[in-house]
């Protein structure tokens, strides 16, 4: 089964209205508040009923020197009435707060697109910092675009002049002025933003009101100034969203809530053992914010202690969870083997980032699939599942809880920095539909070894909670006798236990949904097989290609180990298989090995998500050969 899409498929006549979406990017210095402007634009847009997808992209540096190229922080979003599943390939509108932002972002603006600049920031000093020897605003280079020059800094300062702010504080309102203008351009409300500002600055109302004033001023400017008509957009109308209650959420929100929902359904406390690392820390932060929900978070001294504490928690009868990113996961692999050997539930969330080694910590990649599936010493199988959209993280988290507790096994959940940070309208899950995951701890000894009693169907051993009289036992990482649970070096026993561990995980294949086709037909000339956050661009590319009559389908795999039982047969129905991945080709290795199908790889390893057009080009190319 691929990831559930929040979209109903639009009626056919809508399908080609690609223009029914707009891509806009706010870009400025790290300190310019672009992420906030983008997030609020997203919220106002979502509240309008339009669909939206976002892509925040910020520098690794905390506060890079003002005006430097590497200090540019950007927030891109695509919105519209159609099925929006990516933040967009090319920009229709680019808003830049300084020369460095112009320099680094202009290449992404489409020909004919609009660029709005804050002229005040185009000083000689700033131009020099961005490496411009001449002022681009005075040059040919922007001729292909609609250039709107506004002294935003000045107008924002005027708008907040009446408030008693320091100069620094006053200058921070530029982002709200800019947001106000952007909201006007696309005919969006400001109410949610006003509310948000007043709540955020409740301790300093003058700051809240100054920001509201700047927001209103930007909006008013749009009303009164003569904005070139080409730059003025409009409401796109509501997207064809599935009925339900929605909010804007990132993958961080959804995965955290999903884990909580799963744990509640299982009747377990959550214990998160973690160690900060970009881009995985937000899960720790959000969990830490749920102390009032009884969640225990433990910031350990390192990733090893983090995973070990989670294993201890599971041993003691809680749901042990640990979260990190690739380099931190590497440190956990020995301990994950212990959880496999001792057969304890454990959820390992890997928010992937670009590598190898420290790599590019804030950039996206999905290159830890090998690590999740194969990255331990000895035969140590475990289930691996991946989320495909921010919304999908919720269901994946619940599923992880189900698998971990039902099969007494560590479970890998793969997300990435894109999913963790990107926001989209999230249809709130129907909590009644969350499956009943109630865990039953073994409560009395029924003869034999408490530890080694296995459910004959799942092959899972029973979960024994310390504190239970009569079930005292000793376990650990040494091989265990199949009957007694005691240490055993017996050759046949080791074979049996190894086979049992393998069979237990393989058996999960029969307990997961069959693989469905996300877009397209169940057989044909070409299947694009994806996993994780490539869902959006693959989906869009497939849809667009199909609109053009190309016989291509999109299959998105959530269950990466074991695969859904019908996957091989399904894929066998296509003439060609192309596997787009943000790595050098990892899923493709697994598919080829498992099914002996000549799947090919479409690899992108730039730290940036796929563009739709890149996948469309690959479709064309593979079908031509």
């Amino acid at each position: 089964m691929g990831a559930e899409s929040k979209q109903t498929d639009p009626p056919l006549e809508d399908a080609h209205q690609v223009q029914e979406a707009v891509v806009i990017r706010f870009a400025g210095d790290s300190g310019d508040g672009m992420q906030i402007a983008g997030a609020q634009f997203t919220l106002e847009t979502a509240l309008l009923g339009e669909d939206v997808a976002t892509f925040p992209d910020y520098p690794a540096e905390i506060r890079a020197p003002a005006g430097s190229e590497f200090g540019v922080s950007a927030f891109q979003l695509q919105f519209g009435s159609m099925d929006i599943s990516t933040p967009g390939d090319e920009l229709d509108v680019l808003i830049v707060m300084n020369p460095a932002a112009l320099k680094t972002n202009l290449p992404d603006l489409r020909v004919g697109g609009t660029v709005i600049v804050d002229t005040e920031a185009f000083t000689e000093r700033n131009l020099a910092k961005a490496g411009y020897s001449t002022n681009p605003l005075e040059e040919e280079s922007l001729a292909q675009h609609e250039l709107i020059q506004l002294n935003i800094s000045h107008m924002a300062a005027e708008a907040v002049a009446e408030f008693d702010l320091s100069q620094k504080e006053a200058s921070r309102s530029r982002n709200m002025w800019t947001l106000g203008l952007a909201l006007w351009l696309y005919d969006r409300d400001r109410r949610a933003t006003v509310e948000w500002l007043r709540q955020k600055f409740s301790a300093r109302p003058e700051i809240a009101e100054a920001n509201v004033a700047a927001l209103n001023a930007g909006h008013a400017f749009g009303e009164t100034a003569e904005m070139p008509s080409s730059a003025v957009g409009h409401g796109m109308g509501r997207a064809h969203m599935m009925p339900g209650e929605y909010r804007v959420a990132t993958g961080t929100h959804t995965i955290t809530l999903g884990l909580l929902a799963g744990a509640r359904s299982a009747g377990l406390e959550i214990f998160l053992g973690s160690y900060p690392i970009t881009p995985a820390s937000p899960v720790l932060h959000m969990m830490a914010n749920m102390k009032n929900q009884g969640v225990i978070t433990f910031q350990a001294e390192d990733e090893i202690a983090a995973v070990c504490s989670a294993i201890g928690a599971s041993y003691a009868g809680a749901l042990g969870v640990t979260s990190s990113s690739g380099p931190g996961i590497a440190l956990k692999t020995e301990a994950i083997g212990l959880a496999i050997s001792a057969e304890l539930p454990l959820i390992i969330v890997n928010t992937q980032r670009a590598g190898p080694s420290t790599g590019m910590p804030t950039k996206v990649e999905q290159s830890d699939l090998y690590q999740a599936v194969f990255g331990r010493n000895a035969d140590s199988p475990l289930p691996v599942i991946a989320a495909s959209t921010p919304s999908d993280c919720f269901a994946v988290a619940v599923e992880a809880v189900r698998l971990a507790t039902k099969y007494m096994t560590p479970v890998f959940v793969l997300t990435d920095s894109y999913l963790a940070n990107a926001a989209e309208p999230w249809r709130l899950p129907n909590l009644e539909a969350v499956p009943d995951l109630s865990v039953v701890f073994l409560s009395e000894s029924e003869g034999g070894s408490a530890l080694q009693r296995r459910n004959p169907h799942t092959l899972a051993r029973s979960w024994v909670k310390p504190g239970t009289a009569g079930l005292e036992n000793r376990t650990g990482g040494l091989e265990k006798d199949v009957r007694t649970g005691h240490i055993s070096y017996d050759p046949d026993n080791h074979q049996y236990m190894t086979d049992t561990r393998a069979a237990k995980i393989a058996g999960i294949g029969a307990d997961i949904p069959l693989q469905e086709v996300s877009v397209g037909a169940e057989s044909g000339r070409l299947a694009l097989v994806g996993w994780g956050s490539t869902f959006g661009p693959i989906r869009q590319a497939t849809k667009r290609a199909r609109e053009r009559g190309v016989d291509v389908s999109h299959v998105h795999v959530r269950y990466l180990n074991p695969f859904p039982p019908n996957l091989g047969e399904l894929l066998g129905g296509y003439e060609k298989i192309l596997v787009p991945e943000m790595n050098s080709g990892q899923l493709v290795t697994m598919l080829r090995s498992e099914y002996l199908l000549p799947a090919e790889t479409l690899s992108k390893v730039t730290g940036q998500p796929f563009k739709v057009v890149e996948i469309m080009d690959a479709i064309t190319a593979i079908l031509e050969t």
Partner: protein, 344 residues
């Protein structure tokens, strides 16, 4: 301890599991496990509420031989696993069994942070100054010059003094004992259990195969009186066959000195009195060693602070009292929501 039904006081032997012990004949670990079983019995704890967590090593085999819950984890990580257990269920008595390699080489960082956080664990560190299980390599507590398979010409490293390390890590309970001195070790273990916070019990343990007699210079009968100082809170720091020697402050500096007491020496009342809440004194006691000084044994330091697990759960309770546990539906709706109607 399967099958225990009567709430009667359990005997030491009731804390023995059905597993055949696999330590070498003559190993100091046999004496230690006896002391542990006796302490558990005297503490009248329940096996089902007791968990022994260990890493890897000969020492770390301890849990297999006890009729409590036992978790033999991976090398060096027992304090981290135990932290997860204790935070999850603070009602459990959680003990850690570790060695000088497990606890101070690969596991040094977890030891540091467990002590610093002051989580309520009893950590028993079997110090034989050698890696027993892997056949005799030197360890971070091995003395300079130790010949071992990995240092055939003698080690050139300066060893760490575990008790000093414990103080540097902020430990609030530090005690030392000798494997075979059951009468002294049992009370120490009981004190460790009583201390609500991280309790570190350092046990000199004789590895008869790879480091035999490493502590003979103070454990041998003939050396015991002169080189063992058994400290007791409120009691003068006396040693020697008839308590004829003692410690006092070295005048004008921050050190201790050995003095003769009684006839020909200083009066008994001038001998320093042990105050287990005096960290500076305890740290000095941790550092002194033969031949100049005796080895200080017993509870060197015990000055409790709120334990980490208590603090964590207090904070959770407060947060819940303030905002209440929200149901999931409410949590999902954090922030603004909107509704898309059927066929809008």
């Amino acid at each position: 301890m399967s099958g225990v039904t009567s709430p009667d006081k359990l005997l030491p032997k009731d804390f023995a599991s059905d597993q055949e012990i696999r330590w070498c004949p003559g190993c100091g670990d046999y004496a230690i496990i006896k002391a542990v079983q006796k302490a558990l019995s005297e503490l009248e704890v329940r096996p089902e509420n007791t968990v022994f967590v260990s890493g890897i090593g000969c020492a770390a085999r301890l849990p297999y031989y006890l009729a409590t819950y036992g978790f033999h984890t991976i090398h060096g990580r027992a304090p981290a696993v135990a932290t997860g257990i204790k935070l999850t269920n603070p009602d459990l008595d959680v003990w850690v069994a570790t060695g000088d390699g497990d606890g101070l080489s690969i596991g040094g960082n977890h030891m540091l942070h467990a002590l610093r956080r002051n989580i309520d664990l009893q950590i028993l560190l079997f110090n034989n100054e050698i890696y027993g299980l892997t056949k005799g390599q030197y360890s971070p507590t091995s003395r300079k010059g130790t010949r071992s398979p990995s240092t055939p010409l003698g080690s050139v490293e300066r060893p760490v003094t575990p008790a000093e390390f414990a103080f540097g890590a902020g430990g609030r309970f530090v005690a030392r004992g000798i494997d075979t001195q059951q009468n002294r070790l049992v009370p120490i273990l009981k004190r460790a259990h009583g201390h609500r916070g991280a309790s570190l019990v350092l046990i000199y343990q004789n590895c008869v195969v790879y480091n035999k007699g490493a502590f003979a210079h103070f454990t041998d009968k003939k050396n015991a009186a002169d080189f063992q100082l058994h400290v007791e809170h409120g009691q003068p720091l006396l040693f020697g066959k008839n308590g004829e020697r003692g410690l006092r402050l070295k005048p004008g500096c921050l050190g201790l000195e050995v003095v003769d007491v009684g006839a020909g020496g200083i009066p008994a009342e001038d001998v320093l009195v042990h105050d287990e809440t005096n960290r500076a004194l305890a740290m000095q006691l941790a550092s002194i060693e033969p031949p100049e000084f005796p080895i200080a044994l017993g509870v060197l330091f015990c000055d409790p602070r709120e334990s980490y697990n208590e603090s964590v759960h207090a904070q959770i309770r407060e947060a819940q009292a303030e905002s209440g546990v929200k149901d999931l539906a409410t949590l999902l709706r954090d922030g603004q929501t909107w509704v898309v109607d059927e066929e809008d």
